[in-house]
Symmetry: C2
Subunit: 314 residues, 2 copies
Amino acid sequence: MQLLFLGTGAGMPSKMRHTSSLALKLLEERGTVWLFDCGEAAQHQILHTSVKLRKIEKIFITHMHGDHIFGLPGLLGSRSFLGGDEAIDLYGPPGLQEYVETVLRLSRTHLTYRINYFEQREGILCEDEGMTVETAELDHAIPCWGYRIQQKPLPPKLLIEKATALGVPKGPLLAKLKNGEDVRLSDGTVVKSSEVTEKGEPGFTVAILGDTRFSEAAIRLSRDADVIVHEATFDAETQKLATDYGHSTFLDAARTASLAGAKNVIFNHISARFLPEDEKRLLGQVKEVHSSAFIARDLMEFEWHHQTREIKKK
Amino acid sequence: MQLLFLGTGAGMPSKMRHTSSLALKLLEERGTVWLFDCGEAAQHQILHTSVKLRKIEKIFITHMHGDHIFGLPGLLGSRSFLGGDEAIDLYGPPGLQEYVETVLRLSRTHLTYRINYFEQREGILCEDEGMTVETAELDHAIPCWGYRIQQKPLPPKLLIEKATALGVPKGPLLAKLKNGEDVRLSDGTVVKSSEVTEKGEPGFTVAILGDTRFSEAAIRLSRDADVIVHEATFDAETQKLATDYGHSTFLDAARTASLAGAKNVIFNHISARFLPEDEKRLLGQVKEVHSSAFIARDLMEFEWHHQTREIKKK
Ligand SMILES: [Zn+2]
Ligand SMILES: [Zn+2]
């Protein structure tokens, strides 16, 4: 799993930061990519990465502000143009379907694939064998949502040498044992699955949060996460603006991560007022609250390592 | 007057070319900028130029394909965010107003200025003391329009030494003479305007054409123009694609310029299949049809010089 930041700015693009878009790369896990928000020129940013538009399986929109959705029609159109033919699942607030359908209709964009629309709601939003996505409403100027993405425990590992030693022949019996079934060998011996398997490792948990003030819901979604991505539009000096406009400071984001027991926090949705030379100071403001904190930049990628259960900047 | 190309690609963005958008800089002429089409990330491109969003006075859309309009909502929103408060005139095909209003409404974008919508029609689209804009429908897959922008002749020049020699005192009489009125001096002498003025130089004529097959209307709009901007999505080898999809080849564009007696032609809306190293070959294909031809690239700027009546790459 990798988190690839396509746009990390707030409100409008600057020379340094595009507006919000984040790719959750799940190529090893399921061969696909999930997108969180799609600000204008997200598809332009993707041109500078190895992400293929046709690999995008699901798009999650946090809220309807333009800096989070204006890149969606173009990206959908280009995905079609480039031969994408598998359906895409689109999750977001009420109004999203009207937005997409109106724009595609008026711009005569005919997609080669289907869009499955799912309207935002509290709780489990989608779930399959590999992943669960849970949502909760945050505290922004307009309805805005956060996502908790949880990978299910990996399948049990078959200890093949142990099974062979117990006399299990190659073939379907091994698969049954791996899947948790006990089996009887031709000589009558019963081999228990638990004897020849090792429990699968737990999966990762990532929380990707939309625009929000400091919020209980954000803490809930971030509980024990390996990494959370939290907006930090303002800093200590501009705290009042954060409150007025429904945003967070770096400190709000760090407190959320800390209270949730999240291992890492990545600050995102950064105001254009902050320059690279401010990053040291900004991280200093939160060091005592959460020590494993990063400020996202456009095209920065973080990789989660299953063995160490740590994230590293690539 | 300068023509600043923001996006020169066709269909979808590539690493080298953004989708369609062109700024006609009229800062010396009227202190404003006009925009022709507004593909996705036009506002991002503007960040790399000296153009100020609040200086944009009019936006002309050639047609409703996404690669010509998907940057519009973001640009309008940012213009507001940056304190633009003067109304903007928006010209385009039916559907444009519905597009803009729906997207602004659903994205909760509240503009600090008014948009005046003008629906596309044949003939004079707008006219004031300085400029006339005329339109005609081209020949594309969907309704698509071209624009002929004509600067009116500059005001007559007052030959001030000649007027003084004839006894005209400093003050309002000079202004009258400049404006074409004859005046009577205090000693009864009549001084004719024509004696002390020189006719103003003719203005420039630019044709900016949307997507089109080779078209009579394009020739009409380009008649005797100083420069025309014509799409050239395909080349001689891909002529059939041009016909099928409603586009032109470099040769079609050059023929249009030549038949119209236009002095310069700039090829625009270039397919991503063409690379910088192909430009020499592509210009070679048209050399005999029109010798003053340029291939636009993103952020390329052409300046029109009033004295020489020539355009030059800046
Ligand atoms: Zn927002
Ligand atoms: Zn088109």
